[in-house]
Amino acid sequence: MQPNGPIRNLLRKLNNGLLVVLKPLQIVNNFLFLAVAYFVGVGISSLLYRMGPGKKMPASTASSSPSEAKSLKADASTDTTDTYWRKLPQVSRERNAWLRPF
């Protein structure tokens, strides 16, 4: 055993005890943070989208985003579109574009 073993042991147990005490508080904090992020952040985005019919979702670059799905007919089997393939632009990306996570 090291000379300061008992002190380290005590500190470790104190730390573990604090974690146990603070864990419920952390869960509440996380819940509150996520609730604000969702009801304010996501809510405003959603509201902005709904106020401007025909506009794309602010965060979306896709034409078949979930929000667009709402405007689709209930039964797509009656759709007269010939194809649903989307052509992808054939542009060569710069090296830096591959280093970005977006």
């Binding site: 965060a59 979930p66 052509k87 970005r100």
Partner: protein
């Protein structure tokens, strides 16, 4: 040039190491953590890859990640906003891992691996496409990727030429063949992203005639499929965009009742629904392939994505489409994308020529005889050493012929979800009762699921009505073919209810010992086929270490374990016996 490919955070996390154009090591993280389809950061897989190559993290030139996390995050936010305010539950569950890990990948790489060099981020389906094209035997090939969803893309068409690879067409979330199949998987009471192969197995019991299957036209109602293979799903039948369940109430009503509970019996209705989704999947994928051929006019095609693991569909590609050659990589689901990411960076971004062909799928960890013997001695396990390779083959063949169940642990582990003769449980395919014996003693799996046969590649056409020449994907157990009628009775243990078998054609160059064993079994029994099923306890990944192999044998009724050059008999080590079934999962 050393590039490490990484894939993680959805399912089947993996790592693959490329050195000077050759893949030297590749493995899924689940083999180490023992958690099936483990999505977590592949720390142990990376450590293995580096150890195998004898290099450190600082020796890497770059890391390639298999997708763009921020684009995926954008889709997720868009889903939540699109269905606000009914998605708070899923938002609350999903966000913590995004905030702490998934959005900070570069930091995570630095923290967990200590790597401070360049990290490349590829598109999910481009990684799939690269994982299919670059290791294929083709200089030019059309490319089809089909899975559940990546960032936005669910399906893509493309073309590879030399070192160039381009995706030209796509279909986006929420329209997804993979998610349609997963929805039916959930509806039939199986686990999504795990048990889709069970639906494929069950489909053989249902009505395969499109006109007579009572659910085929209903399945076509939920998807608007165009002649060119493009499609849209009818949203009202699906809840996966905004809830944790997949089929909607309308979907359940259409197919005649609520989702099957896992403990409920499988009925004729379930079999027909499984057959219907299999037929519709084939309709869609074959239409895509015909369109892809029309666009590219190329005779070769490579497939990737989780849907490319559908071996029933794969076995019909050459007969149902104009393509003349097909190749599918053994780990074509998300697990294989780490390899694709590394290869894309090396060839497409850095312009290096191609020299690698994935002919040998044994890229995982292996153990020397010294390491195995040290383990056996340390654990006090009773064992025998075969005096020669010939003795090993003769003794193992005799045991298989006498209907013993043999655990087979030889060489480096397989890349991908299939046991291909390195981590396998083997038994006598010539005994019609072997399927029941295996299920009773070891696998305890659903009665409707077939066992796969391994056969020497040169003899495949003797037993199967297969394509000739045999596509290389058959080496990886990715093609189902009809068993020849004259062999169906003698191969009843590996012949599915519809007369088919999920063939593994073994090439001697890939695994000489396994090839020679099949030959030896043929000499003893007169049937050159063995049953090959994955070496694992139900609910666990395939074994990775001698310790896990031994534990698996002692937890089941496997009779013996041929562990490199050693033979371990269960009957001589009963003090270590336990009941794996008591702890088994799905």
């Amino acid at each position: 040039m050393r590039i490490l490919g990484l894939g993680c955070h959805y399912h089947d996390a993996s790592a693959a190491l490329l050195i000077d154009g050759q893949i030297v090591a590749a493995v899924d993280e689940e083999r180490f953590t023992r958690m099936k389809h483990d999505p977590s950061f592949p720390q142990q897989a990376v450590e293995y890859c580096l150890r195998q190559a004898g290099i450190g993290i600082d020796d890497l030139d770059a890391i390639a990640f298999y997708e763009k996390p921020l684009v995926k995050f954008e889709r997720l936010l868009s889903q939540h906003a699109g269905h606000y305010p009914f998605t708070f539950g899923t938002f609350r569950k999903a966000m913590p891992s995004w905030i702490t890990e998934k959005l900070r990948l570069r930091r995570l790489v630095k923290k967990k691996l200590g790597f401070e060099g360049e990290v490349f981020f590829l598109d999910h389906h481009l990684s799939h496409a690269a994982g299919a094209f670059y290791p294929s035997p083709f200089d030019e090939a059309a490319v089809l990727t089909v899975d559940g969803v990546g960032e936005w893309t669910t399906t893509a068409l493309g073309m590879g030429r030399g070192t160039r690879l381009e995706l030209t067409h796509e279909i986006r979330f929420p329209d997804s063949i993979g998610l349609l199949y997963s929805t039916v998987t959930a509806y039939l009471g199986f686990t999504v992203n795990n048990s889709e192969y069970k639906v494929m197995g069950l489909s053989a019991y249902g009505e395969k005639n499109r006109a007579r299957n009572p659910y085929y036209l209903k399945m076509r109602e939920v998807i608007d499929l165009k002649a060119d293979g493009s499609f849209r799903l009818v949203r009202s039948y699906f809840d996966y965009e905004h809830a944790e369940r997949m089929p909607s109430k309308k979907f359940c009503d259409l197919f005649g009742g609520p989702p099957r509970k896992p403990e409920e019996p499988v009925t004729r209705r379930h079999e027909d629904v499984a057959a219907a989704v299999q037929l519709v999947t084939e309709d869609a994928v074959f239409a895509m392939l015909r369109e892809l051929h029309r666009i590219t006019q190329c005779p070769n095609v490579v497939l990737s994505g989780g849907v490319a693991l559908n071996s029933v569909m794969n076995g019909k590609i050459l007969s149902e489409t104009p393509f003349q050659n097909v190749w599918i990589q053994p780990n074509s689901g998300d697990g294989g994308s780490s390899m694709g990411a590394a290869l894309f960076v090396y060839h497409a971004l850095m312009g290096n020529p191609r020299s690698y062909r994935l002919e040998n799928p044994f890229l995982g960890p292996g153990y020397t005889s010294q390491e195995v013997e040290a383990f056996l001695q340390e654990r006090g396990i009773v064992y025998h050493r075969f005096p020669s390779r010939e003795a090993l083959l003769q003794d193992t063949a005799r045991r298989i012929a006498e209907n013993e169940i043999v655990g087979w642990f030889q060489g480096r582990a397989e890349w991908g979800p299939r046991a291909l003769g390195a981590r396998s449980i083997l038994s006598n395919a010539g005994n019609p009762e072997m399927r029941d014996i295996l299920n009773l003693k070891v696998k305890h799996r659903e009665a409707f699921r077939p066992f796969a046969p391994s056969v020497c590649a040169e003899e495949a056409a003797t037993y199967f009505e297969c394509d000739t020449p045999l596509p290389p994907a058959a080496d990886f157990m990715l093609m189902v073919y009809p068993v020849r009628p004259e062999w169906r009775d003698r191969l009843a243990a590996v012949t599915h209810v519809d007369g088919s078998g999920r063939l593994q054609a073994v090439q001697r160059a890939q695994h000489p010992l396994y090839y020679d064993l099949i030959r030896a079994v043929g000499e003893v029994t007169g049937v050159g086929v063995v049953i090959n099923t994955s070496f694992n306890v139900r609910g666990e990944p395939i074994v990775a270490t001698p310790e896990q192999a031994y534990r698996c044998m002692m937890g089941t009724a496997i009779d013996c374990l041929v562990l490199e050059e050693f033979l371990i008999l269960r009957s001589e080590n009963l003090r270590d016996a336990w009941d794996a079934e008591a702890l088994a999962g799905d």
